[in-house]
């Protein structure tokens, strides 16, 4: 009798917990829908993703096809965004560039996010010499302007997508490390971590299961705004001619090419910029919505 | 009537937001005589501070004034323009805040915050300085010359309270609203502040509205009091009368829950339950839910404020049941 009772109690508790979990999921979904910023941001980035994955569906022109009869045409019904000085169709170049730009932006954010978060966790949790070492490296990186450091690294490895990415990875993790470290320092001293230590949990378990979930949200919010910075910076490096190399279509490089005949063909720089702005705007909205969401959930 | 410096009639104020309406002040009337200390007593969240801020119209944008009148020296304050109010604030009625840690500007010197009260007065620099030094002496701050040059974060809690009172007094107002002046302080410092305010009343002849939840402080300072509960005044009268013969169940409960200093080892009484939410007040008496005298009428109807003695009013249907109720002091 007793046993059955407790079994019933157990399953009901389980179903209760499951129900609660479901509710949290539904609540979160409703919250997401309520946040207009988040929805608009997700739609914009969703469209961008579709363009990135299936560019050939949207344009019949080869982005690298040189047409001697269509040099520097202004936007018209055949060439929506006009053509460049080599007669290439700008619309298809802009569409085809989406994949590369999104990839660079996301990976330029994600790798530093992973590196910085891990180093910040270690630095904040263990303290001592490890912390001092990591923080000195961060200090030194902080004293370089972002662009200058990127340029220095590109100067050493040579221009190209690979060195662009390596530069961004090496430079950008410092912000995550600082952010996570300061959060860990606060959480580390809270009662539930002390309790976990008393229970004899391993450092790894405490770090991954107890501390990480509590510090991750601020890093995620930062990441959403950081991805915009990364996209702009990598497009900027390509604009300067030390990132993605022609003829590969990339928004920043397209704008740079347009600059050489700006007064004669405004469209060459204008349209790639619009796409860059749109995707930046999309990510900004997502970041904004996310931080709002986390703030309301925190309450 | 002549010697009333402030008369408040049927004051109503609500905080309105998209989601709810918080009825912070519900039909409050009281008057303060010239030169008296008037106590506004009640639990935190009952609307005491809101009353003070409504008097000076310092409310946040979501506060909606719902009716009533505030007459200061016979002049209606409701409906005055911001310019006219600025002449009243600080110069006629000033206020000291309970938030000791955050109520003074952190980035300007104490001196400048006092000097601001001399704007518009034709005073030379030396006169301003001399007056500021005198003010700090008046509120009992040692070595005022040096402390005038300091910033707020360099002062302790008790000293900040004194600074705040000094600023409030700088333009020689006739009335001071002291919002929980002793709450955030140690007992010894509390005592000093009580003595300070009492002596200010004597020497400057000011009228004071004292807002507090501490009945001990009230008994040491106030000539008359109003007890507030859930945004209403439930009982008002002379301090002595109310402490000796409370005629409202809430007041009775409050007084019974005061620690006695006669050495008795009785357990402290407390009032069961919690005050109702101000965004969802009951139809009848808001205290009915916690009241041991409550009957059906209390739940269905709002009790009127009844005269139960000379200058003594209680907002209860069952004041008769309390006729033999004993307060702290035997008369």
């Amino acid at each position: 009798m007793d046993i059955r009772c407790s079994a019933v109690a157990d399953t009901s508790a389980k179903s209760f917990i499951e129900k609660k979990k479901q509710n949290i999921l539904i609540d979160t979904f409703i919250l997401i829908l309520k946040s207009k910023a988040l929805v608009i941001g997700l739609i914009i980035i969703g469209i961008m993703l579709v363009l990135a994955l299936f560019p050939s569906v949207f344009t019949k022109f080869d982005p690298n096809y040189i047409d001697g009869n269509a040099i520097m045409l202004s936007p018209c019904t055949t060439h929506w965004f006009g053509t460049d000085m080599y007669g290439r169709d700008l619309f298809s170049r802009v569409i085809y560039a989406t994949r590369l730009d999104l990839f660079i932006g996301v990976s330029a954010m994600f790798v530093p996010f992973a590196i910085g978060t891990s180093l910040g966790l270690i630095s904040g949790y263990y303290g001592g010499k490890v912390d001092a070492l990591i923080m000195r490296i961060v200090d030194i990186l902080m004293s370089f302007p972002y662009m200058v450091l990127c340029i220095m690294i590109v100067a050493i490895i040579g221009a190209g997508i690979k060195s662009l990415l390596i530069a961004m990875w090496l430079v950008d993790w410092k912000n995550y490390a600082r952010l996570i470290r300061s959060e860990v320092m606060i959480v580390k001293n809270s009662d539930f971590i002390q309790a976990a230590k008393v229970m004899g949990f391993s450092d790894k378990r405490i770090l991954l299961r107890h501390i990480l979930p509590n510090v991750l949200s601020s890093a995620l919010v930062y990441a959403a705004s950081d991805i915009v910075v990364c996209m702009m910076a990598s497009a900027g490096l390509s604009f300067l001619g030390i990132g993605v190399q022609p003829p590969t279509p990339e928004w920043g490089a397209l704008i740079a090419l347009g600059k050489t005949s700006l007064s004669k063909s405004w469209w060459q720089s204008f349209f790639p910029g619009i796409f860059l702005i749109l995707s930046g705007f999309g990510f900004s909205l997502i970041g904004d919505g996310m931080s709002d969401l986390l703030r309301t959930r925190g309450r | 009537m002549e010697n009333n410096i402030l008369e408040v009639k049927n004051l109503k104020m609500h905080y309105v937001s998209k989601y709810e309406t918080v009825k912070a002040i519900n039909d409050i009337s009281f008057s303060v005589k010239k030169g008296e200390t008037f106590g506004l007593v009640g639990e935190s969240g009952c609307g005491k501070s809101s009353v003070c801020k409504t008097l000076l119209q310092l409310l946040p944008p979501n506060a909606k004034f719902m009716g009533g009148s505030i007459k200061y020296k016979g002049k209606e304050l409701i409906g005055l323009s911001n310019k006219e109010l600025q002449k009243i604030r600080g110069r006629e009625i000033s206020m000291s805040f309970q938030e000791l840690m955050t109520a003074l500007n952190p980035v300007t010197k104490v001196k400048e915050q006092i000097y601001e009260q001399f704007i518009g007065l034709k005073m030379t620099k030396q006169e301003k300085y001399a007056k500021a030094v005198n003010l700090l002496k008046l509120v009992g701050i040692p070595s005022p010359e040096q402390r005038l040059e300091e910033y707020v974060h360099q002062f302790s809690g008790g000293m900040r309270q004194r600074i705040m009172i000094a600023i409030a007094l700088a333009a020689q107002p006739s009335m001071l609203l002291a919002d929980e002046p002793t709450t955030a302080l140690d007992v010894t410092i509390q005592d000093q502040i009580i003595k300070l305010i009492n002596s200010l009343k004597e020497t400057l002849g000011m009228s004071i509205i004292l807002v507090t939840h501490d009945l001990g402080v009230v008994s040491q300072m106030c000539d008359s009091i109003a007890v507030m509960y859930a945004g209403s005044i439930v009982e008002t009268g002379d301090t002595l009368t109310i402490f000796s013969k409370p005629r409202h169940p809430y007041t009775e409960g409050l007084i019974r829950s005061m620690p006695k200093d006669d050495g008795s080892k009785d357990r402290l009484e407390s009032i069961e339950g919690a005050p109702p939410n101000l965004n969802n007040l009951p139809k009848g008496c808001s205290f009915a839910e916690r009241c041991k005298y409550a009957t059906e009428i209390c739940i269905n109807q709002m009790p009127p404020l009844k005269e139960v003695g000379e200058n003594h009013y209680s907002k209860c249907f069952h004041t008769d049941l309390l006729i033999n109720s004993k307060g702290l002091i035997e008369l």
């Binding site: 302007p145 662009m147 200058v148 050493i156 860059l276 904004d288 | 952190p106 704007i119």
Partner: protein
């Protein structure tokens, strides 16, 4: 006295950071695959030139000695000479530094003059039309690439309406100032997005503090409360944000200078990267780092003057 000793202490603290940076630059430049002499002198260098350069940098010496020589030269402000311009690097840098400083001043000027009032207004008119417009702008400002905004401004106000010079630094001071207006506005538009948003939120927060209500209870005029209480206090966190952006602002100069063809340090750096002029890159990086360190020190001091609660130590 306190402030002076603080500055001296901070300058001393900078020395190790600077040392590490020199080591980093030294090592990185030597990481470049190939012969350093060839890298520094270029393909057309004769055998004698290469040998002379190797002697000069101590190619045959151990690495630590090479670093020591590099450091010694550095202390004499000898950063080597440029391959492209065949001129001492230090001269090239000093020649271009005023342009970059001018650009930075222009950016900060426009950020403060346009951004501060707008941020303050957005905070005061919270949730009203101006607030929404300003907030949407601040979202766009962050996601608009500055090189594109610069080009579009140039197209509009330089090419179509001939208000500002196009790619013309000019020879006189008024011409220089005219040339710095559009670049300054361009970069300010980006940084302003951050500043406005931050200032707006601070103004909203501070308007609700009890010291503002207390100030009102004192009978002060709204103008005085806005200026002495709200604005003064709201500015403090914004100053910190602004100082954090200074470093990226300096880096941003590289792009802006390229867009507007300004003969500044950034443009020099980029040209040197493209032409593999390593001694100029090396010198440029060092100058940028020193500038960032000094600017950080200055903002710390300014902050301590604005906020009496901060003690310098």
């Amino acid at each position: 006295m306190n402030r002076l000793s603080y500055i001296i202490r901070r300058l001393i603290q900078m020395i190790p950071v600077f040392f590490i940076v020199t080591v980093l630059v030294f090592v990185l430049i030597r990481c470049i695959p190939g012969d350093p002499a060839l890298t520094m002198l270029g393909d057309r260098a004769t055998h004698e030139m290469i040998e002379a350069y190797r002697q000069k940098i101590g190619y045959y010496d151990p690495l630590w000695l090479q670093y020591f020589i590099f450091l010694k030269d550095l202390l004499h402000f000898d950063l080597g000479s440029s391959l492209r311009y065949s001129e001492p690097v230090i001269n090239l840098i000093l020649e271009r530094l005023p342009v970059t400083i001018g650009l930075t001043v222009s950016v900060v000027f426009f950020t403060v003059v346009i951004g501060f009032p707008l941020g303050f207004m957005a905070g005061k008119k919270r949730n009203k039309l101006p607030d929404y417009i300003i907030r949407i702008y601040s979202l766009f400002g962050l996601s608009a690439p500055q090189f594109w905004v610069g080009l579009m401004l140039l197209l509009m106000f330089g090419v179509k309406i001939k208000l500002f010079p196009v790619s013309n630094w000019g020879d006189t001071l008024p011409e220089h100032i005219m040339a710095l207006i559009l670049p300054g506005i361009t970069q300010a538009l980006g940084i302003m997005a951050v500043i406005i948003r931050n200032l707006r939120n601070n103004v909203v927060d501070i308007s609700g503090t009890s010291y503002v209500t207390f100030a009102r209870s004192k009978g002060l005029s709204e103008g005085r409360i806005d200026l002495r209480y709200i604005f003064r206090n709201a500015l403090l966190p914004t100053t910190t944000i602004l100082s954090l952006w200074i470093a990226s602002l300096l880096g941003g100069c590289i792009i802006i200078e390229t867009v507007f063809n300004l003969p500044g340090l950034g443009a020099l750096m980029i040209n040197s990267v493209l032409s593999r002029d390593y001694s100029v890159i090396q010198g440029g990086v060092l100058i940028f780092v020193i500038t960032v360190l000094i600017i950080n020190l200055i903002t710390d001091i300014i902050y301590s003057m604005l906020d009496p609660r901060v003690t310098l130590n």
